[in-house]
Amino acid sequence: MAEMTMIEAINAALARAMGEDASVVVLGEDVGVNGGVFRATDGLQRRFGSERVIDTPLSEALIGGLCVGMAAVGLKPVGEIQFMGFLYPCIDQLVNHATRLRTRTQGRLSCPMVLRSPFGAGIHAPEHHSESTEAMLAHIPGLRVVIPSTPAKAYGLLLAAIRDPDPVVFLEPTRLYRSLKEDVTDDGRALPLDRAFVVRPGRDVTVITWGAMVREALAAARTLDEHGISVEVVDLATLKPYDEETILASVAKTGRAVVVHEAARTGGFGAEIAALIAEKGLTSLLAPIARTTGYDTIVPLPRLEQHYMPSRERIASTIERIASFS
């Protein structure tokens, strides 16, 4: 067991997966000698060779498509897109091929690939380096979309993603890469996909969130504790397919729900969670379902980005409003 940052945990999971399965390969821009711009793949090329840790040309559509071809003939490719803002040219491959190969061939071919990408704002980066458009991906049938919120989750979920027999997009909250540490046991144990985690039990309001917002929601919850509001925080972790039961059970208990995400509000994945509750949990609701999210604007350049992302204060004030609704 060792204290790790999220980036170290990801690195450990990749190394573990490559060590235990020779069919795992890593590919992307700068993943080789440089170890990735965030060092997620640090040391992998030295250890596993440049044939298994491939510096691709600057071609995102290619990265997506190479993964499909590799996966279909028996490799387990883990592609890296340097920032989510550069992932869009891959969407074609995800929608039109990766997620369909199994259905199209009725199981004759399949596509066990992982596409990793850092995402989210909060690191004062240039334009396009602060995207969080996970909702676009979580709408794609046949895909899994996984988002860790801590180093240990990153480790366990990434291993699960790599071992999964179907395509997975794995989105890593950039602002968590180095800003929190946690004990992680590098024992090759995966965490379940398709499962949400109740990371804080509470009685009055359920907050459903994921990625970097889990920490913010927990902070808001702690503050509200002092005001006598008991907040349950659910880390969704896997957005697609997501764990309806954990959400519904929590809301059945609290009767109040707030969904928090960093992405723009309209059509964000928070809408899906709210829609689920409004369909299957409506009768237990004591208050409207609130969404605290990024705005429906372009993510501003660093000067204003902190005003874009949901802050602990905004989250807390929404929870308070919902808690006191009657």
């Binding site: 290619l62 498509g65 993964c67 499909v68 071809g69 009725q106 179907d166 398709d194 397919p241």
Partner: protein
């Protein structure tokens, strides 16, 4: 224009020179233009190639007949391009992998995919792509060019694992305008992958003629400029296509890298059964192109060299006709599937989240 569109000044040192050559063995009249390659020396084999082309044409005729009578979906014939399909498929090994488009039904068929399967696919049923033979081949890819990176990925895997398998990726002239195709060719060149790109240049991408697709006299030059060996071949000369393919496949298998063969041919039919080519091209153009078509050409050569008779021809036509009739019969007799089968291969194991949806569908009468 364009290719000659180089700087006029030539005092500067030249750092790269590139050239594209064009290969052909049989003239449109079936006359020998160049000494035939050894791969064409066995008349039995030539007859096999001929039979392959005739079979493809028969499949197309049957498919269109079914479509016209409402019993098949949109279908793309390969009329006039049969030599490309047979030429490329006949040079591949069973465990090589083909990456076909909607126009390569015939190449798949050569590799063992049955006409039944092909009709099932075009009849709108996924089971048609669960090929019972040639199980490693990719299914037909509809989004133009998007399968080129797949071929590169597969070829990379072959190389990584030290397998001597070759990926063969077929592209149209239109596909050569797609960015993902260029990205794939570039990667292929960098890693000298065991891959053969076959550009089936049939001069049209639906209604868009070559001159609006590219400013250049060849498409092969684009691959060449990426660092991939490339040349043109008369795509209506099955001997030439096959010889080029044999060379390219051998090279790939030997670890010497990729090739790109631009096969010059012509789409004699409509783009698909949903298209009406008379809207955008002249009858004269099509009539002229018929003079170059590959089947008559090889037949003339076979007849001229005395290895093919009228009787054999009649037998062959009857035989392939019967085969296609039978295929259609099997296809039409195929039992429908339960609608809920749409969930059957969504994931390896259907996640709990979607089991309820499957039940919903079953209850909606889709059991």
């Amino acid at each position: 224009m364009a290719s000659g569109d180089q700087p006029a000044i030539t005092d500067w040192p030249i750092v790269v020179r590139l050239a594209i050559e064009r290969r052909a063995y049989l003239s449109p009249q079936g006359d020998v233009l160049a000494p035939l390659p050894s791969s064409a020396s066995d008349p039995k084999l030539l007859i096999e190639l001929y039979r392959g082309m005739v079979t493809i044409r028969a499949l197309d005729v049957k498919a269109v007949a079914l479509q016209r009578t409402g019993r098949l979906g949109t279908y793309a014939v390969a009329l006039g391009q049969e030599a490309v399909l047979v030429g490329l498929a006949s040079a591949m090994r069973g465990d090589d992998v083909l990456f076909p488009t909607y126009r390569e039904n015939g190449a798949l068929m050569w590799r063992g995919v049955t006409p039944e399967e092909l009709l099932t696919y075009w009849g709108g049923d996924e089971r048609g792509s669960d090929f019972k033979a040639s199980r490693g081949d990719f299914p037909i890819s509809i989004p133009v060019g998007s399968h080129a990176p797949h071929a590169a990925g597969a070829a990379y895997a072959f190389k990584l694992r030290g397998e001597d398998r070759v990926a063969v990726c077929v592209l149209g002239d239109g596909a050569m305008s797609k960015g993902d195709v260029h990205e794939a060719i570039n990667f292929t060149a960098i890693h000298r992958l065991p891959l053969v790109f076959v550009v089936s240049n049939n001069r049209w991408a639906i209604s868009v003629p070559e001159r609006l697709q590219s400013a250049t006299p060849t498409l092969a030059q684009k691959a060449l400029a990426m660092g991939v060996r490339a040349w043109q071949v008369d795509g209506n000369d099955v001997i030439a296509v096959r010889a080029s393919m044999i060379e390219a496949v051998a090279r790939a298998r030997a670890g010497e890298g990729a090739s790109c063969i631009e096969a010059l041919t012509y789409r004699l039919g409509d783009h698909t059964t949903a298209d009406d080519a008379r809207r955008y091209r002249s009858d004269e153009e099509v009539q002229a192109a018929w003079k170059n078509e590959p089947i008559a050409r090889l037949r003339r050569y076979l007849v001229d060299t005395g290895v093919w008779t009228k009787l054999q021809e009649e037998q062959l036509l009857a035989e392939v006709q019967a085969r296609m009739d039978l295929a259609a019969e099997h296809y039409l007799a195929l039992a429908p599937r339960a609608p809920a089968s749409m969930f059957g291969h969504l994931y390896k194991t259907l996640p709990a989240a979607y089991q309820a949806q499957r039940r919903e569908l079953e209850e909606a009468g889709g059991g």
